[in-house]
Symmetry: C2
Subunit: 201 residues, 2 copies
DNA sequence: CGACATGTTGAGATGGATCAACACTTGTGG
DNA sequence: CCACAAGTGTTGATCCATCTCAACATGTCG
Protein backbone atom coordinates (compact mmCIF):
# COMPACT_ATOMS: atom_id res chain seq x y z
CA UNK A 1 0.00 0.00 0.00
CA UNK A 2 1.69 3.17 -1.17
CA UNK A 3 -1.04 5.81 -1.11
CA UNK A 4 -4.28 5.29 0.75
CA UNK A 5 -7.56 6.52 -0.74
CA UNK A 6 -8.82 9.82 0.66
CA UNK A 7 -5.67 10.59 2.52
CA UNK A 8 -2.92 12.99 1.74
CA UNK A 9 0.65 12.04 2.30
CA UNK A 10 2.19 15.31 1.22
CA UNK A 11 4.63 13.30 -0.83
CA UNK A 12 5.25 12.50 -4.45
CA UNK A 13 7.10 9.46 -5.70
CA UNK A 14 8.88 8.05 -8.66
CA UNK A 15 8.50 4.31 -8.94
CA UNK A 16 12.05 3.06 -9.39
CA UNK A 17 11.54 -0.69 -9.44
CA UNK A 18 8.53 -2.97 -9.19
CA UNK A 19 4.91 -2.75 -10.30
CA UNK A 20 1.94 -0.94 -8.81
CA UNK A 21 -1.57 0.14 -9.74
CA UNK A 22 -3.74 3.18 -9.24
CA UNK A 23 -7.41 2.62 -8.42
CA UNK A 24 -10.51 3.92 -6.73
CA UNK A 25 -13.14 2.15 -4.66
CA UNK A 26 -16.80 3.18 -4.63
CA UNK A 27 -18.73 3.36 -1.40
CA UNK A 28 -20.31 -0.03 -2.03
CA UNK A 29 -16.98 -1.70 -2.68
CA UNK A 30 -16.77 -1.82 -6.47
CA UNK A 31 -13.22 -1.06 -7.54
CA UNK A 32 -11.87 0.39 -10.76
CA UNK A 33 -8.19 0.20 -11.63
CA UNK A 34 -7.21 3.24 -13.66
CA UNK A 35 -3.70 2.31 -14.66
CA UNK A 36 -0.75 0.10 -13.91
CA UNK A 37 2.51 1.72 -12.88
CA UNK A 38 5.90 0.50 -14.04
CA UNK A 39 9.39 1.70 -13.22
CA UNK A 40 9.84 5.34 -14.21
CA UNK A 41 6.22 6.27 -13.62
CA UNK A 42 5.51 9.22 -11.42
CA UNK A 43 3.00 9.05 -8.56
CA UNK A 44 0.94 11.80 -7.05
CA UNK A 45 0.66 14.49 -9.70
CA UNK A 46 -3.09 14.10 -9.89
CA UNK A 47 -3.50 14.82 -6.23
CA UNK A 48 -3.91 18.55 -6.08
CA UNK A 49 -1.91 20.26 -3.39
CA UNK A 50 -3.10 19.71 0.16
CA UNK A 51 -6.20 17.82 -0.95
CA UNK A 52 -6.92 14.23 -0.05
CA UNK A 53 -5.88 11.85 -2.78
CA UNK A 54 -8.92 10.71 -4.74
CA UNK A 55 -7.34 7.35 -5.51
CA UNK A 56 -5.21 4.74 -3.87
CA UNK A 57 -2.00 3.19 -5.07
CA UNK A 58 -0.87 -0.31 -4.21
CA UNK A 59 2.20 -2.25 -5.15
CA UNK A 60 1.89 -5.50 -7.10
CA UNK A 61 5.38 -6.63 -6.21
CA UNK A 62 8.29 -5.55 -4.11
CA UNK A 63 8.96 -1.98 -5.15
CA UNK A 64 11.33 0.87 -4.47
CA UNK A 65 10.34 4.50 -4.55
CA UNK A 66 12.06 7.83 -4.77
CA UNK A 67 10.31 10.27 -2.43
CA UNK A 68 9.74 14.01 -2.97
CA UNK A 69 8.15 16.35 -0.47
CA UNK A 70 5.17 17.92 -2.17
CA UNK A 71 5.90 21.25 -0.57
CA UNK A 72 8.98 21.65 -2.71
CA UNK A 73 7.24 21.00 -5.99
CA UNK A 74 6.85 24.67 -6.73
CA UNK A 75 10.53 25.33 -5.94
CA UNK A 76 11.38 22.74 -8.52
CA UNK A 77 9.38 24.46 -11.22
CA UNK A 78 11.03 27.77 -10.46
CA UNK A 79 14.56 26.49 -10.19
CA UNK A 80 14.44 23.89 -12.96
CA UNK A 81 11.85 24.70 -15.60
CA UNK A 82 13.07 21.75 -17.65
CA UNK A 83 12.00 19.39 -14.88
CA UNK A 84 8.65 21.09 -14.70
CA UNK A 85 8.31 20.55 -18.40
CA UNK A 86 9.10 16.87 -17.93
CA UNK A 87 6.50 16.57 -15.20
CA UNK A 88 3.85 17.90 -17.53
CA UNK A 89 5.05 15.39 -20.10
CA UNK A 90 4.71 12.54 -17.62
CA UNK A 91 1.29 13.70 -16.55
CA UNK A 92 0.07 13.99 -20.12
CA UNK A 93 1.52 10.62 -20.95
CA UNK A 94 -0.30 8.93 -18.13
CA UNK A 95 -3.39 10.67 -19.44
CA UNK A 96 -2.92 8.94 -22.78
CA UNK A 97 -2.76 5.55 -21.13
CA UNK A 98 -5.91 6.19 -19.13
CA UNK A 99 -7.63 7.33 -22.33
CA UNK A 100 -6.67 4.05 -23.91
CA UNK A 101 -8.17 2.14 -20.99
CA UNK A 102 -11.35 4.16 -21.22
CA UNK A 103 -11.57 3.33 -24.90
CA UNK A 104 -11.23 -0.35 -24.06
CA UNK A 105 -13.77 -0.40 -21.30
CA UNK A 106 -16.23 1.73 -23.21
CA UNK A 107 -16.04 0.16 -26.65
CA UNK A 108 -14.24 -3.15 -26.76
CA UNK A 109 -15.68 -6.61 -26.11
CA UNK A 110 -14.27 -8.79 -23.37
CA UNK A 111 -11.84 -10.64 -25.67
CA UNK A 112 -10.65 -7.39 -27.18
CA UNK A 113 -10.14 -5.82 -23.77
CA UNK A 114 -8.07 -8.70 -22.48
CA UNK A 115 -6.03 -8.82 -25.67
CA UNK A 116 -5.44 -5.09 -25.47
CA UNK A 117 -4.30 -5.16 -21.88
CA UNK A 118 -1.99 -8.09 -22.51
CA UNK A 119 -0.22 -6.44 -25.44
CA UNK A 120 -0.12 -3.08 -23.79
CA UNK A 121 1.50 -4.36 -20.61
CA UNK A 122 3.79 -6.59 -22.61
CA UNK A 123 5.06 -3.68 -24.67
CA UNK A 124 5.51 -1.43 -21.70
CA UNK A 125 7.45 -4.04 -19.75
CA UNK A 126 9.50 -4.99 -22.79
CA UNK A 127 10.44 -1.40 -23.56
CA UNK A 128 11.77 -1.08 -20.03
CA UNK A 129 13.99 -4.10 -20.50
CA UNK A 130 12.07 -6.21 -18.00
CA UNK A 131 11.98 -9.96 -18.58
CA UNK A 132 13.96 -11.82 -21.21
CA UNK A 133 13.73 -12.33 -24.95
CA UNK A 134 10.51 -14.33 -24.92
CA UNK A 135 8.57 -13.29 -21.85
CA UNK A 136 7.98 -10.49 -19.38
CA UNK A 137 7.00 -10.67 -15.72
CA UNK A 138 3.28 -10.27 -15.11
CA UNK A 139 2.48 -9.90 -11.41
CA UNK A 140 -1.25 -9.23 -11.87
CA UNK A 141 -3.93 -11.41 -10.45
CA UNK A 142 -7.01 -12.20 -12.54
CA UNK A 143 -8.88 -9.96 -10.15
CA UNK A 144 -6.67 -7.09 -11.24
CA UNK A 145 -7.44 -7.75 -14.89
CA UNK A 146 -11.14 -7.82 -14.04
CA UNK A 147 -11.06 -4.58 -12.06
CA UNK A 148 -9.05 -2.79 -14.72
CA UNK A 149 -11.31 -3.88 -17.55
CA UNK A 150 -14.71 -3.63 -15.89
CA UNK A 151 -15.37 -7.37 -16.24
CA UNK A 152 -16.41 -9.95 -13.69
CA UNK A 153 -13.73 -12.22 -12.32
CA UNK A 154 -15.37 -15.31 -13.78
CA UNK A 155 -15.70 -13.89 -17.25
CA UNK A 156 -12.12 -12.65 -17.12
CA UNK A 157 -10.95 -16.13 -16.33
CA UNK A 158 -12.93 -17.70 -19.15
CA UNK A 159 -11.78 -15.11 -21.66
CA UNK A 160 -8.16 -15.45 -20.65
CA UNK A 161 -8.45 -19.20 -21.08
CA UNK A 162 -10.03 -18.78 -24.47
CA UNK A 163 -7.14 -16.68 -25.73
CA UNK A 164 -4.68 -19.21 -24.39
CA UNK A 165 -6.61 -21.99 -26.13
CA UNK A 166 -6.35 -20.05 -29.38
CA UNK A 167 -2.59 -20.13 -28.96
CA UNK A 168 -2.22 -16.38 -28.64
CA UNK A 169 -0.34 -16.34 -25.37
CA UNK A 170 0.67 -18.21 -22.24
CA UNK A 171 0.52 -16.85 -18.74
CA UNK A 172 1.95 -18.97 -15.98
CA UNK A 173 3.93 -18.50 -12.84
CA UNK A 174 3.93 -14.77 -13.31
CA UNK A 175 5.43 -14.85 -16.82
CA UNK A 176 3.60 -13.65 -19.91
CA UNK A 177 4.58 -14.82 -23.41
CA UNK A 178 2.91 -13.55 -26.54
CA UNK A 179 2.89 -16.41 -29.04
CA UNK A 180 1.28 -14.47 -31.85
CA UNK A 181 1.65 -10.76 -31.24
CA UNK A 182 0.40 -9.80 -34.70
CA UNK A 183 -2.87 -11.70 -34.33
CA UNK A 184 -3.35 -10.31 -30.87
CA UNK A 185 -2.73 -6.75 -32.03
CA UNK A 186 -5.25 -7.21 -34.82
CA UNK A 187 -7.79 -8.58 -32.38
CA UNK A 188 -7.37 -5.62 -30.05
CA UNK A 189 -7.13 -2.96 -32.75
CA UNK A 190 -3.88 -2.05 -31.03
CA UNK A 191 -1.78 0.85 -32.19
CA UNK A 192 1.37 1.55 -30.23
CA UNK A 193 1.48 5.03 -28.88
CA UNK A 194 4.71 6.63 -29.92
CA UNK A 195 6.94 7.00 -26.88
CA UNK A 196 9.45 9.62 -27.67
CA UNK A 197 12.25 10.37 -25.22
CA UNK A 198 10.52 9.73 -21.96
CA UNK A 199 11.96 11.73 -19.11
CA UNK A 200 12.89 10.23 -15.77
CA UNK A 201 12.56 12.42 -12.75
CA UNK B 1 -13.97 20.36 -35.77
CA UNK B 2 -11.07 21.74 -33.79
CA UNK B 3 -8.44 19.01 -33.88
CA UNK B 4 -8.60 16.14 -36.35
CA UNK B 5 -7.63 12.63 -35.25
CA UNK B 6 -4.14 11.55 -36.26
CA UNK B 7 -3.09 14.95 -37.42
CA UNK B 8 -0.90 17.48 -35.77
CA UNK B 9 -1.74 21.12 -35.86
CA UNK B 10 1.27 22.38 -33.98
CA UNK B 11 -1.08 24.47 -31.91
CA UNK B 12 -2.49 24.49 -28.43
CA UNK B 13 -5.72 26.15 -27.41
CA UNK B 14 -7.63 27.42 -24.48
CA UNK B 15 -11.37 27.09 -24.90
CA UNK B 16 -12.71 30.53 -24.05
CA UNK B 17 -16.41 30.09 -24.73
CA UNK B 18 -18.58 27.21 -25.88
CA UNK B 19 -18.53 23.46 -25.40
CA UNK B 20 -16.45 20.75 -27.04
CA UNK B 21 -15.53 17.11 -26.57
CA UNK B 22 -12.41 14.99 -26.90
CA UNK B 23 -12.79 11.54 -28.45
CA UNK B 24 -11.18 8.76 -30.39
CA UNK B 25 -12.55 6.56 -33.15
CA UNK B 26 -11.50 2.93 -33.61
CA UNK B 27 -10.73 1.59 -37.05
CA UNK B 28 -14.17 -0.01 -37.30
CA UNK B 29 -15.95 3.19 -36.40
CA UNK B 30 -16.74 2.75 -32.72
CA UNK B 31 -16.20 6.05 -30.94
CA UNK B 32 -15.35 6.80 -27.33
CA UNK B 33 -15.73 10.28 -25.88
CA UNK B 34 -13.08 10.83 -23.21
CA UNK B 35 -14.21 14.11 -21.80
CA UNK B 36 -16.28 17.21 -22.40
CA UNK B 37 -14.55 20.57 -22.55
CA UNK B 38 -15.97 23.72 -21.06
CA UNK B 39 -14.69 27.27 -21.03
CA UNK B 40 -11.29 27.48 -19.38
CA UNK B 41 -10.22 23.98 -20.41
CA UNK B 42 -6.93 23.60 -22.18
CA UNK B 43 -6.57 21.64 -25.41
CA UNK B 44 -3.60 19.81 -26.77
CA UNK B 45 -1.39 19.03 -23.80
CA UNK B 46 -1.78 15.30 -24.32
CA UNK B 47 -0.42 15.49 -27.81
CA UNK B 48 3.28 14.99 -27.42
CA UNK B 49 5.43 17.40 -29.39
CA UNK B 50 5.49 16.84 -33.13
CA UNK B 51 3.45 13.66 -32.93
CA UNK B 52 0.06 13.20 -34.50
CA UNK B 53 -2.74 13.81 -32.07
CA UNK B 54 -4.16 10.49 -30.86
CA UNK B 55 -7.61 12.00 -30.44
CA UNK B 56 -9.93 14.44 -32.10
CA UNK B 57 -11.70 17.43 -30.66
CA UNK B 58 -15.00 18.77 -31.89
CA UNK B 59 -17.11 21.67 -30.79
CA UNK B 60 -20.64 21.11 -29.51
CA UNK B 61 -21.63 24.70 -29.98
CA UNK B 62 -20.24 27.91 -31.31
CA UNK B 63 -16.90 28.31 -29.56
CA UNK B 64 -14.01 30.71 -29.33
CA UNK B 65 -10.44 29.64 -28.82
CA UNK B 66 -7.21 31.23 -27.75
CA UNK B 67 -4.38 29.84 -29.89
CA UNK B 68 -0.78 29.12 -28.83
CA UNK B 69 1.95 27.93 -31.15
CA UNK B 70 3.23 24.67 -29.73
CA UNK B 71 6.79 25.58 -30.59
CA UNK B 72 6.81 28.25 -27.93
CA UNK B 73 5.59 25.97 -25.14
CA UNK B 74 9.08 25.38 -23.89
CA UNK B 75 9.84 29.10 -23.89
CA UNK B 76 6.83 29.59 -21.70
CA UNK B 77 8.11 27.12 -19.15
CA UNK B 78 11.47 28.80 -19.04
CA UNK B 79 10.22 32.35 -18.91
CA UNK B 80 7.19 31.82 -16.69
CA UNK B 81 7.57 28.82 -14.42
CA UNK B 82 4.29 29.74 -12.74
CA UNK B 83 2.44 29.20 -15.98
CA UNK B 84 4.18 25.88 -16.44
CA UNK B 85 3.01 24.93 -13.00
CA UNK B 86 -0.53 25.88 -13.95
CA UNK B 87 -0.34 23.79 -17.08
CA UNK B 88 0.59 20.76 -15.05
CA UNK B 89 -2.32 21.56 -12.79
CA UNK B 90 -4.72 21.70 -15.73
CA UNK B 91 -3.36 18.49 -17.17
CA UNK B 92 -3.68 16.68 -13.85
CA UNK B 93 -7.17 18.04 -13.38
CA UNK B 94 -8.33 16.77 -16.71
CA UNK B 95 -6.81 13.44 -15.67
CA UNK B 96 -9.10 13.37 -12.66
CA UNK B 97 -12.15 13.88 -14.81
CA UNK B 98 -11.15 11.11 -17.18
CA UNK B 99 -10.57 8.85 -14.17
CA UNK B 100 -14.07 9.59 -13.06
CA UNK B 101 -15.45 8.64 -16.46
CA UNK B 102 -13.46 5.44 -16.44
CA UNK B 103 -14.90 4.61 -13.05
CA UNK B 104 -18.39 5.15 -14.44
CA UNK B 105 -17.93 3.14 -17.56
CA UNK B 106 -16.14 0.33 -15.76
CA UNK B 107 -18.27 -0.03 -12.66
CA UNK B 108 -21.56 1.78 -12.83
CA UNK B 109 -24.86 0.53 -14.28
CA UNK B 110 -26.56 2.44 -17.09
CA UNK B 111 -28.79 4.47 -14.75
CA UNK B 112 -25.89 5.31 -12.52
CA UNK B 113 -23.75 6.39 -15.47
CA UNK B 114 -26.37 8.70 -16.86
CA UNK B 115 -27.07 10.17 -13.43
CA UNK B 116 -23.35 10.69 -12.88
CA UNK B 117 -22.82 12.45 -16.18
CA UNK B 118 -25.83 14.67 -15.66
CA UNK B 119 -24.73 15.87 -12.24
CA UNK B 120 -21.15 16.19 -13.25
CA UNK B 121 -21.87 18.35 -16.28
CA UNK B 122 -24.44 20.32 -14.33
CA UNK B 123 -21.94 21.16 -11.61
CA UNK B 124 -19.21 22.07 -14.02
CA UNK B 125 -21.45 24.36 -16.02
CA UNK B 126 -22.94 25.87 -12.88
CA UNK B 127 -19.55 26.60 -11.35
CA UNK B 128 -18.63 28.51 -14.50
CA UNK B 129 -21.71 30.66 -14.16
CA UNK B 130 -23.35 29.26 -17.29
CA UNK B 131 -27.13 29.13 -17.38
CA UNK B 132 -29.41 30.68 -14.81
CA UNK B 133 -30.58 29.82 -11.31
CA UNK B 134 -32.50 26.70 -12.23
CA UNK B 135 -30.95 25.28 -15.38
CA UNK B 136 -27.76 25.08 -17.38
CA UNK B 137 -27.29 24.74 -21.14
CA UNK B 138 -26.74 21.17 -22.30
CA UNK B 139 -25.74 21.01 -25.96
CA UNK B 140 -25.11 17.25 -26.05
CA UNK B 141 -26.99 14.90 -28.29
CA UNK B 142 -28.10 11.53 -26.92
CA UNK B 143 -25.46 10.04 -29.18
CA UNK B 144 -22.84 11.99 -27.23
CA UNK B 145 -24.13 10.61 -23.96
CA UNK B 146 -24.01 7.12 -25.43
CA UNK B 147 -20.47 7.47 -26.77
CA UNK B 148 -19.18 8.96 -23.54
CA UNK B 149 -20.73 6.25 -21.38
CA UNK B 150 -20.16 3.18 -23.51
CA UNK B 151 -23.89 2.55 -23.93
CA UNK B 152 -25.97 2.01 -27.04
CA UNK B 153 -28.00 4.93 -28.29
CA UNK B 154 -31.28 3.14 -27.71
CA UNK B 155 -30.49 2.19 -24.14
CA UNK B 156 -29.28 5.70 -23.44
CA UNK B 157 -32.60 7.08 -24.62
CA UNK B 158 -34.61 4.68 -22.49
CA UNK B 159 -32.51 5.31 -19.41
CA UNK B 160 -32.69 9.06 -19.81
CA UNK B 161 -36.47 8.78 -20.10
CA UNK B 162 -36.63 6.62 -17.03
CA UNK B 163 -34.82 9.20 -14.92
CA UNK B 164 -37.09 11.93 -16.23
CA UNK B 165 -40.12 9.80 -15.37
CA UNK B 166 -38.76 9.44 -11.84
CA UNK B 167 -38.80 13.21 -11.60
CA UNK B 168 -35.06 13.55 -11.19
CA UNK B 169 -34.46 15.96 -14.03
CA UNK B 170 -35.76 17.52 -17.20
CA UNK B 171 -33.83 17.96 -20.40
CA UNK B 172 -35.45 19.89 -23.19
CA UNK B 173 -34.47 22.40 -25.82
CA UNK B 174 -30.87 22.22 -24.70
CA UNK B 175 -31.57 23.09 -21.06
CA UNK B 176 -30.91 20.73 -18.17
CA UNK B 177 -32.67 21.11 -14.83
CA UNK B 178 -31.96 18.90 -11.84
CA UNK B 179 -35.20 18.53 -9.92
CA UNK B 180 -33.77 16.41 -7.13
CA UNK B 181 -30.00 16.81 -7.01
CA UNK B 182 -29.64 14.96 -3.73
CA UNK B 183 -31.42 11.84 -4.98
CA UNK B 184 -29.45 11.92 -8.19
CA UNK B 185 -26.15 12.27 -6.34
CA UNK B 186 -27.06 9.32 -4.15
CA UNK B 187 -27.96 7.26 -7.18
CA UNK B 188 -24.66 8.02 -8.88
CA UNK B 189 -22.49 7.73 -5.77
CA UNK B 190 -21.34 11.20 -6.70
CA UNK B 191 -18.69 13.00 -4.74
CA UNK B 192 -17.68 16.42 -5.94
CA UNK B 193 -14.03 16.71 -6.62
CA UNK B 194 -12.65 19.68 -4.80
CA UNK B 195 -11.79 22.38 -7.30
CA UNK B 196 -9.39 24.71 -5.67
CA UNK B 197 -8.22 27.82 -7.42
CA UNK B 198 -8.29 26.71 -11.03
CA UNK B 199 -5.81 28.60 -13.16
CA UNK B 200 -6.74 30.10 -16.50
CA UNK B 201 -4.05 30.23 -19.13
C1' DC C 1 -41.74 19.92 -50.07
C1' DG C 2 -37.99 16.42 -49.29
C1' DA C 3 -33.70 15.25 -46.87
C1' DC C 4 -31.39 14.51 -42.82
C1' DA C 5 -30.37 14.58 -38.01
C1' DT C 6 -32.38 13.52 -33.79
C1' DG C 7 -35.53 11.36 -30.59
C1' DT C 8 -38.89 7.42 -29.22
C1' DT C 9 -40.64 2.82 -28.61
C1' DG C 10 -41.29 -2.33 -28.88
C1' DA C 11 -39.61 -7.19 -29.58
C1' DG C 12 -36.20 -10.31 -29.53
C1' DA C 13 -31.25 -11.84 -29.06
C1' DT C 14 -26.92 -12.23 -26.36
C1' DG C 15 -22.57 -11.15 -23.91
C1' DG C 16 -21.38 -11.01 -19.68
C1' DA C 17 -23.01 -11.27 -14.69
C1' DT C 18 -24.15 -14.11 -10.89
C1' DC C 19 -24.29 -18.25 -8.29
C1' DA C 20 -22.22 -22.36 -6.86
C1' DA C 21 -18.80 -25.78 -6.73
C1' DC C 22 -14.30 -27.52 -6.60
C1' DA C 23 -8.92 -27.58 -7.21
C1' DC C 24 -4.50 -25.92 -6.14
C1' DT C 25 -1.05 -23.33 -3.58
C1' DT C 26 0.90 -21.07 0.31
C1' DG C 27 1.43 -19.90 4.90
C1' DT C 28 0.33 -20.66 9.81
C1' DG C 29 -0.14 -22.64 14.15
C1' DG C 30 -0.67 -26.72 16.78
C1' DC D 1 4.37 -33.18 10.27
C1' DC D 2 -0.37 -32.33 9.66
C1' DA D 3 -4.77 -29.53 9.66
C1' DC D 4 -6.66 -25.67 8.39
C1' DA D 5 -7.62 -21.09 6.44
C1' DA D 6 -7.08 -17.80 2.88
C1' DG D 7 -6.02 -16.43 -1.67
C1' DT D 8 -6.19 -17.70 -6.30
C1' DG D 9 -7.68 -20.18 -10.39
C1' DT D 10 -11.24 -23.16 -12.97
C1' DT D 11 -15.69 -24.65 -14.65
C1' DG D 12 -20.80 -25.31 -15.46
C1' DA D 13 -25.68 -23.62 -15.15
C1' DT D 14 -28.73 -19.97 -15.15
C1' DC D 15 -30.24 -15.09 -15.39
C1' DC D 16 -30.68 -10.42 -16.90
C1' DA D 17 -28.93 -5.78 -18.34
C1' DT D 18 -27.96 -4.17 -22.31
C1' DC D 19 -27.60 -4.63 -27.42
C1' DT D 20 -29.51 -5.05 -32.00
C1' DC D 21 -33.01 -4.59 -35.21
C1' DA D 22 -36.86 -2.23 -36.94
C1' DA D 23 -40.26 1.19 -37.06
C1' DC D 24 -42.02 5.58 -36.65
C1' DA D 25 -42.17 10.62 -34.83
C1' DT D 26 -40.46 15.13 -34.71
C1' DG D 27 -37.75 19.10 -35.91
C1' DT D 28 -34.87 21.82 -38.89
C1' DC D 29 -33.19 23.57 -42.97
C1' DG D 30 -32.56 23.99 -47.79
Amino acid sequence: MIVRENENTGELYTLLTGWAFRYRTMSDGRRQIFNFLLPGDFIGLQDQLEEASPHGIEALSAATLCVFPRSRLWDLYRAHPALGFDLTWLSAHEGLIVDENLLSVGQRSAVERIAMLLIHLYKRAESLGLGDAESVPMPLTQQHFADALGLSLVHTNKTLKRLEALGLHTLERGKLKLLNPAAMARLADYHALPLRGRPLI
